[in-house]
Symmetry: C2
Subunit: 356 residues, 2 copies
Amino acid sequence: MSDLLTGPVEVVGAGLLGTSIGLACRRAGVQTFLHDLSAEHLRTASGLGAGRPRRPDDRPQLVVVAVPPDHLGSEIVAALRRTDAVVTDVGSIKSEPLQTVGEQLPDLLARYVGGHPMAGSERSGPLAASAALFDGRPWAITPHDEATPHAVSLVEELVRVCGAVPVTLDPGEHDRAVARISHLPHLLAVLVAGRLADAPDSHLALSGQGVRDVTRVAGGDPALWEQIVRHNAEALRGLLAEVREELDALQNALSDGDRDVLGALLARGVAGTEAIPGKHGGPAHAMRSVFVSVPDHPGELARLFADAGVAGVNIEDVHIDHDPGRPVGLVELLVEEARAEHLLASLESQGWITHR
Amino acid sequence: MSDLLTGPVEVVGAGLLGTSIGLACRRAGVQTFLHDLSAEHLRTASGLGAGRPRRPDDRPQLVVVAVPPDHLGSEIVAALRRTDAVVTDVGSIKSEPLQTVGEQLPDLLARYVGGHPMAGSERSGPLAASAALFDGRPWAITPHDEATPHAVSLVEELVRVCGAVPVTLDPGEHDRAVARISHLPHLLAVLVAGRLADAPDSHLALSGQGVRDVTRVAGGDPALWEQIVRHNAEALRGLLAEVREELDALQNALSDGDRDVLGALLARGVAGTEAIPGKHGGPAHAMRSVFVSVPDHPGELARLFADAGVAGVNIEDVHIDHDPGRPVGLVELLVEEARAEHLLASLESQGWITHR
């Protein structure tokens, strides 16, 4: 339950995001009304427990607009006119709808605060919805200067009720951010997947986890993504130019056998993967190294890991110091600081020589 | 145990693949010897239970060469000279090592059959190894005309012992296949990841599952991938040119606001994801539709899915037929044919009206 988001919440658009928000609100005991142009989506979302169809005399506390980019601005404007609620949205782009509201309804701008949950990718429609879709995920909140503190707080509370992590940034910065960490990845995944559509079966038969992971997002609704990409073309322009330049360099490096250029490009890729924050974006737990002597016999390392498994402590990293002159190696196990003593005691009880 | 692969198996190269093969052989009770230039890798792999270090008087039945592309050809040649075993390899490219052997040791070519397991991507080294790495994965076998039937059978048996699915193709076709379904995806993932390395924290804070999936493989060992890509440059040339062309078209479509070009590109991406075979590459099970009447009340659909869950039958797909004039909808559930009757009986016992 929420003291601030007392409800009701009206959700406009009963697709994947809208229905999931309805389910999350219902999970928190908040009354929810739904609307969708498609009677089928509306009945399905309602049937799933996301809320009841809205009625003309409803008075929501908050309206969540969850429609595709082409209709975002107009639906936010309509909601501001139709109700006296705070209005937010969950669209993939934030500058444009804000501009639309600013042009059409400057007097009611104060009640609008845009947002964008970073959840759900290639699936769509109410049947793919889940109350847990947003749990632990980032949810961008993009307030403008004229938004009331109450409107901002209410949207932050919606994010909290949905189990997500609020990330505040201004609308333009948001659009540049999602171009880089969502829209560009989608487009390049599409370029990879495009090479599979007419591929020989013998090629496809060798598909492993790698190509599946790279192309998963490319399965997303093309009608929706066509809108998203088109509406964020400006932010994508520079990134696509960078990619094009690097692709040129890669093609030349392969033709010329230039190992340095190729190696540098691959190293930049590794650096990029390391830049992505940990799952919940919070600080890592304090870690500590514990040291164990391991005799140099076949299978001894495996025995150590099995015995560490008995202790139930997650081993984050392992380093092995083999002194060529010694028959015993020193193994360094990196574990959460709070679990280190427990691991040491468990290993010692199982006969291992440990060092603190 | 295997009647054909009686062992011993010698593994040259105690990295991720070599160590995993050693572990899989030991899992099957096959004696395994290991070798690696790095004493540390050798001790670690042995300590993990992948086998004992090889000795000069060992006589293996099969040698598996698991070294990076730069040394593949020479190590296969050395193994053919050093032993009278069948020799296979697990390198990422197949035409070049075959050519090397054909040039240097044509008389012993009959004992060599190349292979390539499609398993393990961004992780490397013996500590990342697992006996189960290859379970259910495709493993390419690329025999040449002069290979003896015994050599081919022995390599097929190794694949079976490692739990993998053999896929036979000729070496050139293999190289073109992996360019398309492994090397190109890796390179484009690297291009996406390259945009993250120096990205603002505010951008990275919005990272979701999509960018993580697209860039995961880009975390792979750059020294290894530099070799793989360089050795398969010829097969990659045409694919990179196609991607470059499509990228140009995409940039132009965004500048011009050309929705058709953009839509077609995205649709081709969806088609590509659908071309990737099911996890084990086998034929899909026969499916059957069962129909259930669902009253049009909030939450009824959720109740149906929960009750279907009780039956323990996996629902592969759902279609809902809402007749606007009726208060009851007909829901079509797609399930495995063999489970359909059980689901129907279970739902009926829980009060649902079903139709066969």
